[in-house]
Amino acid sequence: MSVPVPWAELRRFTSARVALGRAGHGLPTAAHLDFQEAHARARDAVHSALDLDALEAALGQPAIRVASQAADRRTYLLRPDLGRRLRQADRARLPPTPGAFLFVLADGLCAIGVQQQAPALIAAARPLLEAAGLALASIVIASQARVALGDEIGEAMGAAMVAVLIGERPGLSATDSLGLYLTLGPKRGRTDAERNCISNIRPGGLAPEAAAEKLLWLAGAARRLGATGVALKDEQPNAPRLAP
């Protein structure tokens, strides 16, 4: 028999799994299965794949489809180095667009995030970036991709800046979160210290419009400073809004 939790009121102060009750020393059945369900959702999310046709339709324009050298999900998880390298045959499909601003959509550790959040983010960001005088390159969608794959893609196209929109590692509470990594002068060998990140873009997290404004601010600051990464501190005025 599980017993009632005399401190259930603690739940209103936190999203953590407090005041779960006890069955002996263990979890009551409902709390145990709640956890199992959340983990199952996260596990399936890791193995989710991009629906490329649906993604192009949501973007409202065709995209260039490429893949990393990680042939499948297991290889992707075991060999992060292969997820950072472009499949050889795909290099020729990347049109040179020197000086352009490039979006790369990458599945990362969870395709759901990019599938669901990337179209709205790009729709919000495109007019802002174009109004700031940036020329946008064709969108690239990359499968089995790590963040650094954007360096090789950007280098091949001669892009001035690349924004990699990538699915974030799923947690028990969110499996639809998108991260954005901005890199000035993309080329192979760039490190994570040379990127700026906007994370937790999802319903309940950062709204796509707020993320787009932050991206615009970062891109402008990167052009003025001639650098992204640790040298570029996020000093955007007005804190970003949370999504409703």
């Binding site: 017993v3 009632p4 005399p6 401190w7 009121e9 603690l10 739940r11 102060f13 936190t14 999203s15 953590a16 799994r17 407090v18 005041a19 779960l20 006890r22 020393h25 263990g26 979890l27 709390a31 956890f35 199992q36 959340a38 983990h39 996260a42 596990r43 999310a45 890791v46 998880l77 075991l78 060999r79 992060p80 180095d81 550790l109 590692r169 799923p170 947690g171 028990l172 509470s173």
Partner: protein, 454 residues
């Protein structure tokens, strides 16, 4: 000089000690990623046989990373105590395994200053899980600050009340939940969401106030970078334990932004505060296999040998707590439950053998091939091995770090299954407050309003 052994008609050659250690290591993804693992099962066992035949004193003559290039190597060799080493100086690595399996606690304790981490790592590579459990269970290590950790028959819990935005009420609610479920005797330790001085100061004040209001005989810690803790101490903040992530090479420590000199400075600053009541062990270190490769500072060494070298760094500073965060790093270093389980027991064994108050964060991420069953198995094995402490996270779900660790309930389970009690001072406090008796309905033994949860 090199090493060789024949298995199945093939003679396998290993050019140096670090290669021999790497090839002898039970399979794990991080060593494969680094290109250091044995290519076949037979090559692995050939390396294990060659390692078993190696005289233990060879480890004093061949460093896996050169003395000149690395301050961790210098620390290891400069601190080696030849007199303490004498009882095993005549043994091979294989003979040392046999010696360990028959050794009494007093002999194991006396040996500590005579062992290098590479010796501990080396012998662990030819031990099965039951060997790692059996020997660790006879390594007695106690440490003290406001209570006494590591006594026989005890199991302590770090209460880990993390909050995604460092909301003080969220942290306080998780602390109260944990205290009511018997957690917190190892430390009440928060990972801040951002490594920011103001946040750290606010959290330090909160933790100290909670400890003070409920008069809990335990210690608190905000797991910020050591330089942030130094600044906090300069500002007069109530710092009990100084935390830092460390690794087994000078290079990985540099990637963490620390050096031995900086750790020494931080320890001296914390000692000067004199906040411990029953002891002065005031450092808290976290480690984990794979960090050196991740920082490209592994020097061709396997990840478990480097993990053991991190324990040489830890023991230099008489820590209250050390734990490996074994499953946090991800599947490219430890792929599945089997690899995480073995690594957790290796880390606990090596840490205890070298004299550390060793805990383990029994944990996994959602992209690893692991689940709660794997964690239950590792937790139970570690309990039998006498682990000093494990983590306590509400419902096993860390909502800030987005990984799964052990829950307050897991701590209750393990104590009950193995007949373990909390640290004696904390146990007495729980009895005084009526915490276990109040686990049914009724009035709370700890008033939420006292810590701002009105």
């Amino acid at each position: 000089m090199g090493f060789a052994h024949a298995v199945g008609g093939t003679r396998y050659l290993f050019p140096d000690l670090r290669t021999l250690l790497a090839r002898a290591t039970p399979l794990r993804s991080g060593d494969v990623l680094a290109g250091l693992a044995a290519e076949t099962a037979q090559e692995r066992v050939a390396a294990q046989r060659a390692l078993a035949d190696l005289p233990l004193r060879h480890f004093l003559n061949e460093a896996v990373i050169s003395y000149e290039a690395d301050e961790v190597t210098r620390l290891i060799l400069d601190r080696h105590d030849a007199a303490a080493f004498a009882p095993v100086a005549h043994l091979t690595v294989g003979g040392f395994r046999d010696w360990l399996l028959a050794a009494e606690p007093a002999a194991l304790a006396a040996l500590r200053p005579g062992l290098t981490p590479e010796m501990a790592a080396g012998v662990s590579k030819i031990m099965r899980l039951q060997d790692l459990v059996a020997v660790a269970a006879r390594c007695r290590v106690t440490s003290r600050f406001r209570n006494t950790l590591g006594l026989p028959g005890r199991l302590s819990i770090r209460l880990q009340p993390n909050d995604p935005v460092d909301d003080p009420r969220g942290v306080a609610a998780a602390i109260l939940d944990g205290l009511l479920l018997g957690a917190g005797d190892a430390v009440i330790g928060v990972n801040p969401a951002t490594d920011n001085l103001e946040t750290t100061l606010r959290l330090l004040d909160l933790l100290d106030a909670v400890r003070d209001r409920y008069a809990i005989p335990t210690q608190s810690c905000v797991l910020a970078h050591v330089t942030t803790s130094l600044l906090a101490m300069e500002r007069g903040a109530p710092v009990d334990l100084v935390f830092q992530s460390i690794g087994g090479t000078e290079g990985v420590n540099r990637s963490f932004g620390v050096s031995l000199a900086l750790l020494r400075e931080a320890r001296e600053a914390a000692l000067a505060l004199g906040r411990g009541t029953v002891g002065t062990d005031c450092m808290y270190f976290e480690t984990g296999q794979g960090s050196a490769l991740s920082a490209e500072a592994h020097h061709g060494c396997d990840q478990q040998t480097l993990e053991a070298r991190a324990y040489a760094v830890a023991r230099e500073f008489s820590p209250l707590l050390v734990n490996s965060v074994v499953g946090f790093i991800g599947p490219e270093y430890l792929f599945d439950g089997k690899q995480i389980t073995r690594a957790g027991l290796e880390d606990h064994f090596c840490g205890k053998l070298l004299g550390l108050p060793m805990g383990v964060d029994v944990c996994y991420t959602n992209h690893a091939e692991a689940d709660q069953d794997d964690m239950d198995a590792l937790l139970t094995l570690l309990g039998v091995a006498g682990v000093t402490y494990v983590m306590g996270v509400p419902g096993a779900d860390d909502v800030m770090l987005a990984y799964q660790s052990t829950s307050f309930h897991d701590g209750l389970y393990l104590r009950a299954a193995l007949g373990r009690k909390p640290a004696p001072e904390f146990e007495e406090w729980m009895e005084r407050m009526g915490i276990e008796a109040a686990s049914g309905a009724g009035r709370l033994p700890l008033a939420p309003a006292l810590i701002g949860l009105g």
